[in-house]
């Protein structure tokens, strides 16, 4: 039985990262209707930025993290202005194709700038085991879960209380109506992309500490989609919950069945949810207009 809870704890830690990536994805999707295939590569970008900060610019850990997040934010805004603003109004698949192209470019650029070998951070956040209720958790995992919880809280407050957050919610509901109310939709889009990229980068920063910095981290982005869908594609807390769920399912499947079957279980659950409750756990059923 202890093994079960150990798997769950491990799953919650990894799942927090999936949740962060999914959160960024949902943020972008909800506000700008862009299905961002490049989300995993933004996570990798964050990891490499942190590596550059710590290894190349020799910054201590916390400032390096902040610098990485700021740079990621700027890159996100730049992406929106340069690539996605001209694409507003184009059909969904066209925009998806552009994100696929961006994913290719970001991957290649990372490999050219940083080289292709795997790297590890010269010094990392503390990772010693901590014993809670007989279970072994690492300090880093606790930090990851804590950071994710903070993020959720921060976003909840942001969307409920701040002016920009309300504007974003309004734009997500109906772009034209919010523009009629005087909201600058372009600014909202920029913020959405910036924040979405920064959150993915935060996931990457945590991932760089949890594991190593390699170009393969982009594969994590793939799990953002089922996480977002499980939670409800338009729900921000749902994205986190979806991510946590997927992390736990993965670990349980790996532990009780095998490493290869983990994906099957994750997607099997996804399929079941889609067939029974397509709008996810936290979403609202959408009515199709004929």
């Amino acid at each position: 039985m202890a093994a079960f809870f150990q798997y769950v704890i491990g799953g919650l830690a990894v799942g927090s990262i999936y949740g962060l990536v999914a959160l960024g994805f949902v943020l972008i999707f909800k506000s700008t209707d862009v299905f961002n295939f490049a989300q995993g590569d933004l996570l990798t970008l964050g990891a490499y930025l942190l590596f550059a900060g710590v290894a190349n610019w020799k910054l201590p850990m916390i400032p390096a993290i902040l610098v990485s997040l700021v740079i990621a934010l700027v890159i996100g805004v730049a992406m929106q202005v340069i690539v996605f603003r001209p694409m507003i109004g184009k059909p969904l698949l066209t925009v998806v194709m552009v994100t696929i192209a961006l994913s290719l470019i970001i991957k290649a650029l990372i490999q050219v700038i940083f080289g292709t070998t795997e790297k590890t951070l010269p010094h990392q956040l503390p990772n010693d085991p901590v014993h809670i209720l007989g279970l072994k958790v690492s300090e880093l995992e606790l930090i990851t879960m804590g950071v994710t919880a903070l993020c959720v809280l921060a976003f909840a407050l942001f969307f409920r209380r701040s002016k920009l957050g309300l504007q974003m919610r309004a734009t997500a509901e109906n772009v034209e109506a919010s523009m009629l109310s005087g909201i600058d939709a372009n600014r909202v889009f920029m913020v959405a992309f910036g924040l979405g990229t920064a959150i993915a980068a935060l996931g990457g920063v945590l991932m760089a500490n949890l594991q190593t910095v390699t170009p393969q981290l982009s594969a994590l982005g793939l799990l953002a989609f089922p996480a977002a869908v499980l939670g409800g594609l338009t729900s921000i807390p749902g994205a986190i919950v979806g991510g946590l769920l997927i992390g736990v399912i993965q670990q349980l499947a790996t532990g009780y069945v095998s490493g290869q079957s983990a994906n099957v279980f994750v997607y099997g659950v996804l399929l079941a949810v889609l067939l029974i409750r397509p709008w996810g756990i936290f979403g609202r059923p959408t009515v199709a207009r004929v």
């Binding site: 961006l102 490999q111 290869q260 994906n263 099997g268 067939l275």
Partner: protein
């Protein structure tokens, strides 16, 4: 641009004007001459270097032909019927498994294996299509993603149980004694099959069935009100396209001679999506252009970058050490440019050129 069609019969005719016949003959002649150009590296007696041929050889053309057939199938499903499906790699793997069971383990004749792969694909495809009765758009996409992983797991289990770690090996196939064991013979076979697939697809679209698919894509409720059995048609669309895809998957593994489960990745699916989107959704010529571009362009880029001397400022070092990455960056930028300026893809560009040439000097 020839005479206008005034009835369906004219619309359905393939060779509807003399100029069409002429161009078809030119095309057949070019396809006939192509292998000798690529093998001997000269055209009408003039020698060509590898760079001038953009690094393309017969193997690349064979891969491109396979891609054309698979792209046509995917376009039928996604472009013409509007069903977003990520199952493409799974159907390829169905073809591979069927070939392994029937062709390698039981040694059945090759044409039968291909047909059987197609039928197996159709059955699996109908199964993949079941979620489409209830889900639309993005959700359908994700349900097919789930099915993709499940199908892959089945393939992996089959492979590890019956074959070694390095994959399943296929011997060169033979059709009624004619062994297809070199690129020239594969070219002949694939060109003929590609022509057949294109013909089938075009005829399908010119008939009731095809028009029903397009109607479902554009407005399924209205289509239903016209008496089109929407659910059944969707399943049929899945079955038809996966028949073709699985048959192509069988051809593919025989051509490669070996396959293993890591070939059927999500990247594989995304590549085909890229092909049909760049080529032009809902356009057969788009599938052909997209497949040709996507399979041949990376080769061309690599060859061109290989001909740049490493001493060239900045670019030279990049190309020498990071050829693949540079090719990817160029490809990505090209895709973004096409999507920004001509979202209808290559077929849109082609139509624009045709119109411009025909209407000159009145083209805008």
């Amino acid at each position: 641009m020839s005479r206008m069609h005034t009835n369906y019969r004219q619309n359905m005719r393939l060779l509807s004007s003399r100029s069409r016949v002429f161009w078809l003959l030119v095309l057949v002649a070019a396809l006939w001459y192509l292998p000798s150009v690529l093998n001997n590296r000269m055209i009408f007696g003039y020698g060509l270097t590898d760079t001038q041929l953009l690094g393309v050889g017969l193997p690349q053309v064979n891969f491109a032909l396979i891609a054309v057939m698979a792209a046509v199938a995917l376009n039928l499903l996604v472009g013409y019927t509007g069903l977003l499906s990520l199952g493409h790699a799974a159907f390829f793997s169905v073809g591979a498994i069927t070939s392994a069971v029937l062709g390698v383990q039981h040694d059945l004749p090759f044409p039968l294996v291909i047909l059987a792969s197609g039928c197996a694909g159709a059955v699996v495809g109908a199964f993949f299509g079941l979620p489409s009765l209830r889900l639309r758009g993005l959700y359908l996409l994700l349900s097919t993603l789930a099915l993709h992983f499940i199908a892959l797991y089945v393939f992996l289990t089959y492979q590890t149980h019956n074959y070694g770690p390095a994959g399943i090996t296929y011997d060169a196939p033979s059709i009624f004694g004619w062994t297809v064991d070199n690129d020239d013979r594969w070219y002949t076979l694939l060109v003929i099959l590609a022509g057949v697939v294109l013909l089938l697809a075009r005829n399908l679209l010119a008939m009731r069935e095809g028009r029903a698919l397009v109607a479902i894509r554009d407005h399924d409720v209205a289509a239903g009100s016209l008496g089109i059995p929407v659910g059944r048609q969707r399943i049929k669309a899945f079955a038809m396209t996966s028949f073709i895809t699985s048959a192509v998957g069988a051809l593919y593994v025989y051509y490669l001679g070996n396959t293993s489960s890591d070939a059927y990745s999500l990247d594989f699916v995304i590549n085909y999506f890229a092909i049909i989107i760049i080529g032009g959704l809902g356009s057969l010529s788009g599938s052909v252009f997209g497949a040709l571009l996507w399979t041949l362009l990376p080769q061309a880029l690599q060859t061109l970058s290989g001909s740049v001397s490493p001493d060239t400022f900045v670019v030279g070092n990049l190309l020498n050490n990071y050829q693949g990455q540079t090719a990817n960056i160029v490809l990505g930028l090209l895709i973004i440019a096409i999507m920004l300026f001509k979202p209808t893809g290559l077929s849109g560009i082609w139509l624009g050129i045709k119109r411009g040439v025909v209407r000159w000097p009145y083209s805008s």
